[in-house]
Amino acid sequence: MAQEMRSPIESGCPDAFQYMHPVMRKNFGQWAYHEDPQPGVLLHVSNNGDKIWTVRAGTQRILDVFTLRKLCDIGDEHGEGYIHFTIRSNIEYQVADEAKVQPLIKALEDAGFVVGGTRNSVAMLSHTQGWLHCDIPGTDASGVVKSMMDELIGEFKEWNMPNRVHMTTSCCQINCGGQGDIAINVQHTKPPKINHDLVSNVCERPSVVARCPVAAIRPALVNGKPSLEVDEKKCICCGACFPPCPPMQINDAEHSKLAIWVGGNHSNARGKPTFQKLVASGIPNNPPRWPEATAVVKKILKAYKENAKDWERINDWIERIGWPRFFEVTGLPFTKYHIDNWRGARASLNASTHIRF
């Protein structure tokens, strides 16, 4: 038992160059241009004429070691042993030999992986942890993504969209999933239910009070015990009190819903980066397939595909056609909840006569 503990080596972030394909290492910072030979494949050409092909594939993201080894086997047999992961968790193989590209694609597809996700496709949904391994989720993440990708797989494999579509999911309102052209996020609709017996044992009350964005929490004595109470009129049901104080249960099988947001875009291309905007809510959190959420997403994608011009991301498209037309072409209802009342909200109101007829 009295075993010597080993001190960590604080090596931090490892050097990537040791794991990089030699052609990429050699041409670092020297790339001249790229081409897109087919969906899921990129060709980069360097100033000195060196070429590297990339084959990109979608996976289940939660990888078991068997799948990980399968991906490595494919990389050894058909690739050149080098792998890169995109920030949306796609796997990429780099090869300097063009002849390897088609066999590599075939091997990936034969093993059930999905080649695509480049250029103007619907990219892999980026997802969070969900019920599988987070402590605060209102829904699952991997299951939502699996269900949606099953239906959007055709758009992942093709270039049918006006521009790329980045989708994200988040299973609580903290939204570690980030901004997306379309984001599917949990939206709670009822205040937390408090288990007063546990609060004083489990929660650091002042820091929970401080966590609430609208100061709706105050310390209180309940049944003679120190606890917390919530001003339910003020509460915006954000769930921020739940992580520091699990007895303030925000997740509810019926009242934790899904909301859909559109137009988040991290790129500076054309306009400045944008945050996503609410378009739909009240969508049931309906495992194992979440069909209602997928239906709304498909409606939005269809309208975007039919109406947007080349290179318009969803935010560019809506900026051109205006929000009234967006709600018209998608058939989604516009409600009082779409009008922002958070800080800075007046900047989102129309203070002009710019109205489309």
Partner: protein, 421 residues
């Protein structure tokens, strides 16, 4: 093969359909893995997950687990329904820092897989939203064993809690013609200077570095990091008129007008009568659109550097914030350039550590105290590139005007001298 497996009717549904199924993968561990420990833990996991699907609730709770010598890097997971599913009642996640830019060899992935199989559940994600490799599912004891093993061959934990977090960088110079900086060198230079702050959470809240090689910002740095480093250039973009003509030939003049010329946010492009393109480089805001459409014809210039934006974050607590320009342009070539960037990060983190409230992100602090107080705190001069427009409200005390104006003129004189020297 686990003898008695929990029934998973709802999860089984996720084994149908064309997209690869994570459930099928977990079941393979449950049913086919030679190690009974893995059969058992994944069986428990599936049982609990099915229970979540049925009741629409999560059943993990946090706690305190760390490896010897560190305060963070493990996400503790204890089951609240451990009596029903005891096999996975401890199911912690280890956050491990990936190589900058997410590059691996198959050999290294196999080695990591082998170690993980020895100590953990056999489930792993490349990568979490903050950028870590997430090794999902280890007991408290095995967390230490796994870490000890992989730490010996070059892998270290990432951040969790109020600390400097794992950084991220785009694929960048390794394979992208838009790159304007050495993303991966910057990434490592910055985060590895703060390893102590990564491993021992003692800041007001989390602090993230993210690096994108150009304003396309594939890394989401502006929207999702406290310290965003974005590659850019300040001389003229490079134009290959021959290639431009090829685009016209291939796509047609109208397509180029509608999709390139008129889409420039600052009207910096014109299509000339002889089918060449002119760029008003002074008014180009480096948005990247025209380069994205015509990567063979247009290319970033040679005088490369970075723009730095501070204070991006997601919703909690005051709403989403984007980073604000604090350094419009900085060269990153020499060791001194890198050192001064690092010093700036130290100044910012020190100032925030001192002035930020508990659980207040750097951007929220800036919102509370104002950009000016922040800039004065870290010793950076104001610059019109920091704003979309000057102030609209007259409600401000301005009796320091003359001195402030003189500072501006003084700075301009110095810049001129430096330029002519």
């Amino acid at each position: 093969m686990a003898k008695n497996t929990y029934p998973t009717p709802m999860l089984d549904n996720l084994e149908t359909g064309p997209w690869p199924s994570f459930i099928t993968g977990i079941k393979r561990l449950r049913d086919e893995h030679p190690d009974e420990r893995i059969n058992s833990v994944t069986n428990g996991l599936l049982g609990q997950l099915e229970h979540s699907y049925e009741t629409r609730k999560g059943y993990w709770k946090g706690g305190t687990v760390s490896v010897y010598g560190y305060g963070g890097g493990i996400i503790p997971r204890f089951s609240e329904v451990g009596d029903a599913f005891p096999e996975s009642k401890e199911f912690h996640t280890l956050r491990v820092q990936p190589p900058a830019g997410n590059f691996y060899t198959t050999d290294m992935l196999r080695q990591l897989g082998d170690s993980w199989e020895k100590h953990g559940s056999g489930l792993v994600t490349f990568h979490g939203q903050t950028g870590n490799i997430m090794f999902i599912g280890a007991t408290t004891e095995n967390t230490q064993h796994f870490f000890d093993e992989i730490n010996e061959y070059g892998w270290d934990l990432g951040g969790a809690g109020p600390c400097v977090r794992t950084a991220m960088s785009c694929v960048g110079g390794a394979r992208c013609e838009m790159s304007n900086c050495n993303e991966h060198a910057i990434h490592r230079w910055m985060v590895n200077n703060f390893t102590d702050d990564v491993h021992r959470p003692a800041l007001p809240y989390k602090f993230k570095f993210k690096v994108s090689g150009c304003p396309n910002d594939c890394q989401n740095a502006i929207e999702r990091s406290d310290f965003a480093i974005i590659g850019t250039w300040r001389d003229d973009m490079k134009v290959n008129q021959e290639e431009f003509k090829n685009y016209i030939e291939k796509k047609g003049r109208q397509y180029i007008i509608d999709n390139v010329i008129t889409r420039c946010p600052t009207q910096a492009l014109s299509l000339n009568d002889d089918d060449t393109i002119s760029v008003d480089n002074h008014n180009c805001v480096r948005c990247m659109h025209c380069l994205n459409v015509m990567p063979k014809a247009l290319h970033p210039g040679d005088d490369k550097g970075v723009t730095i934006l501070i204070g991006g974050k997601r919703t909690l607590k005051i709403g989403d914030l984007m980073g604000t320009v604090v350094v419009p342009f900085k060269k990153l070539e020499t060791e001194e350039d890198y050192e001064s960037l690092q010093e700036m990060a130290e100044d910012i983190i020190d100032f925030w550590a001192e002035n930020g409230l508990e659980h207040e992100r750097c951007g929220e602090m800036i919102e509370r105290i104002g950009l000016i107080n922040f800039l004065e705190g870290i010793g950076i001069d104001v610059d019109p590139n920091m704003v979309s427009s000057p102030r609209q409200s007259s409600y401000v005390r301005m009796d320091g005007w003359d001195e402030e104006a003189e500072k501006w003129f003084e700075r301009k004189r110095e810049e001129k001298q430096a330029a002519s020297a």
